[in-house]
């Protein structure tokens, strides 16, 4: 056990010890690889039978949602079971403004959608953030369903028929990029299969993925900037001990509302982008199940760690598409995986680094104290 942790620590130390330009270059290469992923179509990773670009787009949307929900659940510690409600507000605002009741371009409708969601977050949060824990979970659960039911029952929102012809992002057709073809076992450049940079069409979904990835990267950077500041500290203090935080001069209610609204803002952005790419939405796109999946992404990845929740989002969105042949077992496998996770890694796959440190020390103390009463067996099992 100690061997493993020290190795991980060594790797981390080596990475963080690198000079700044090298690290920066590393990030650039990583980002370029991520952008090129659907063009490379690497075997095993790309999804047979489903459009790879489309799957990757959905993955970025889940990533975006996970980042937004992580602010609410991971940073501020507010259990939100109705996050899909914000996603829906963003999507419906964009749908109404670009197709159903007006003819706005997407780039104008999207910010309005995000503002509407932000407002929704404040309206929902102002009365409900005064209650704690379980109560908040129930209220938000209801909120998510209410939004969906309102959409089902309101003529103005298209009822269950939904809204179609939602505007796409403006295209800027510059040049064509060929894909790689791995059919022969070696990568060959395939000029018959190419993606236009950047055409947001019906068939080729890769540009949507690029857009999604760009937004994820921007949100990731914003997330880091906000977290490493007074705001991030206030969120964390509120999560850890709300009363103590308040008595240390943190206006906890204000910061909880800020977390809620910021999370809603990001959720609205994801919803708007999703609606634009689907070009069609109906209330079925915003089932309670999605709230659960979003939350699962955050919890599986490790709430409070932005990279962890991204990994969680990738797992939740990508794996079911990659292994479609096992589609019938999807929910079963998912359930088993969650149970296994709860037992083996209750903090998620990648808990925030500091949680890891705290746990390690606790464990060391445990081992020192209980070395004689059967703790060795438990430690071995954990390793």
């Amino acid at each position: 056990m100690s061997n493993k942790t020290s190795k991980a620590g060594g790797f981390r130390a080596r990475v963080t010890g690198l000079p700044k330009p090298v690290k920066f270059l590393g990030w650039i290469v990583l980002a370029l690889l991520a952008y090129a992923l659907p063009l490379l179509e690497p075997p095993f990773i790309s999804t047979p039978g489903v459009d790879f670009g489309g799957v990757l787009f959905v993955v970025t949307m889940y990533g975006l949602v996970a980042l937004g929900l992580n602010i609410v659940v991971g940073y501020a510690g507010l259990l939100d079971l109705g996050y899909v409600g914000f996603y829906a507000i963003g999507a419906y605002t964009v749908a109404i403004l670009t197709s159903f009741h007006a003819n706005w371009p997407l780039l104008l409708a999207l910010p309005v959608g995000m503002l509407a969601t932000l407002l929704g977050g404040i309206i929902l949060g102002t009365p409900t953030l005064r209650v704690r824990g379980d109560y908040l979970a129930i209220v938000t659960l209801g909120f998510g369903e209410i939004i969906r039911l309102v959409a089902v029952n309101t003529e103005w929102l298209g009822t269950s028929k939904g809204i179609s012809n939602i505007a796409r992002p403006p295209s800027l057709e510059l040049f064509e990029i060929p894909h790689l073809n791995w059919d022969t076992g070696v990568p060959l450049v395939d000029f018959n299969d190419s993606t236009t940079f950047i055409e947001f069409g019906v068939l080729d979904q890769i540009p949507y993925y690029w857009m999604g990835l760009t937004v994820v990267i921007l949100v990731l950077i914003a997330d880091k900037l906000i977290k490493d500041s007074r705001v991030g500290r206030a969120w964390e203090a509120t999560r850890e001990d709300e009363d103590a935080a308040e008595l240390m001069g943190v206006p906890t209610f204000r910061f909880k509302l800020l977390a809620f609204a910021t999370g809603a803002f990001v959720g609205g952005l994801a919803g708007g982008l999703y609606a634009s790419r689907q070009s069609f939405i109906n209330p079925q796109s915003f089932l309670l199940l999605f709230s659960i999946l979003f939350l699962a992404a955050v919890v599986i990845g490790g709430q409070g760690n932005r990279w962890g929740v991204l990994v969680g989002a990738v797992l939740v969105a990508y794996l079911p598409q990659r292994f479609r042949e096992f589609d019938d077992f999807r929910v079963l496998v998912f359930g088993l995986a969650l149970v296994a996770l709860a037992i083996l890694r209750p903090e998620g796959l990648f808990p925030p680094r500091r949680t890891v440190r705290a746990k390690q020390l606790e464990q060391e103390l445990d081992e020192l104290e209980g070395a004689h009463d059967g703790h060795d067996g438990e430690a071995a099992a954990r390793a």
């Binding site: 906000i226 500041s229 850890e240 001990d241 935080a245 240390m248 001069g249 943190v250 500091r354 705290a358």
Partner: protein, 261 residues
């Protein structure tokens, strides 16, 4: 013009929980720059009094004025920002944050960086971060725990956690600092060191309100003492006066059958 030598004035403070009267018509004041001890047997209402001052409980009646301004009805964080900081009887640090971050949260009480300053790294954010960081490290050094700045609060030793709580409270830059049994669980040597530390805190210009059980510590460090018993103020005076006060002796040692607490 309010009397400026009185930092805190508590007048006829009464606090009832249903039928239970936790504080009954308590009046006292704290003068600027002094160390006031608040003592009494278990359940006398010391912590309740603390909680009323720091806004955790709302008084049933009576007034609490801080530098001439009423605190009743103010929110807890506003009271902290107004200049009263406290520690807790049971340590309540933010366990998953580092020692430095814990102190920074305290320092943030004086800051106003919001989400936009942070997002765009505006000069205000940079200035407040730098200021807060310097102040926090200074306080950690003052408490003698600067070596543990980057350790998680949960991982500090018990004594260091108590010291960190004091540092965090001082970081809010208060006029009045309230210590709730800071020496609980300390051995005599640690208590002696803490006593010196409390004096040093006062010498830095803070006014100190100290709840303490240990009579020797209280007698050694305080300028004045207020004694509570069953929610009532039974004595007030210098340590020497309190030591010889028959009511206090009775409260602490019990008279005849009255060994209630």
């Amino acid at each position: 013009m309010p009397d400026h030598t009185k930092v805190l004035e508590v007048e006829n403070l009464t606090l009832k929980f249903g039928g239970l009267t936790a504080l009954d018509d308590v009046s006292f004041h704290i003068a600027e720059g002094e160390i006031l001890g608040l003592i009494g047997p278990n359940g006398a209402g010391k912590t309740t009094c603390f909680n009323a001052i720091t806004g955790v409980y709302r008084p049933t009646s009576g007034s609490i004025r801080f530098r001439g301004e009423s605190l009743v009805g103010k929110k807890r964080f506003q009271i902290t920002q107004a200049g009263i900081a406290r520690t807790f009887q049971n340590i309540r640090l933010f366990p998953t944050m580092t020692a430095l971050e814990n102190v920074l949260v305290g320092a943030d009480a004086r800051h106003s960086t919001g989400i936009f300053s942070a997002l765009f790294r505006l000069p205000k954010h940079r200035r407040e971060e730098a200021e807060g960081h310097d102040r926090a490290m200074e306080l950690l050094r003052f408490m003698g725990i600067q070596r543990h700045a980057d350790e998680l609060a949960a991982n500090l030793s018990y004594g260091d956690q108590r010291r960190l709580e004091i540092a965090r409270a001082m970081a809010t830059n208060p006029k009045l600092i309230c210590l709730d049994e800071p020496a609980a669980g300390f051995n005599p040597e640690e208590k002696r060191v803490l006593m010196d530390l409390i004096r040093k805190v006062r010498d830095q210009g803070y006014t100190v309100l100290l709840i303490e059980h240990d009579m020797r510590l209280v007698m050694g460090v305080t300028d004045r003492i207020v004694v509570l018993e069953f929610g009532k103020l039974i004595a007030e005076g210098s340590p020497a006066e309190i030591r010889d006060n028959p009511a206090v002796i009775a409260a602490y040692l019990g008279v005849e059958e009255e060994d209630a607490s």
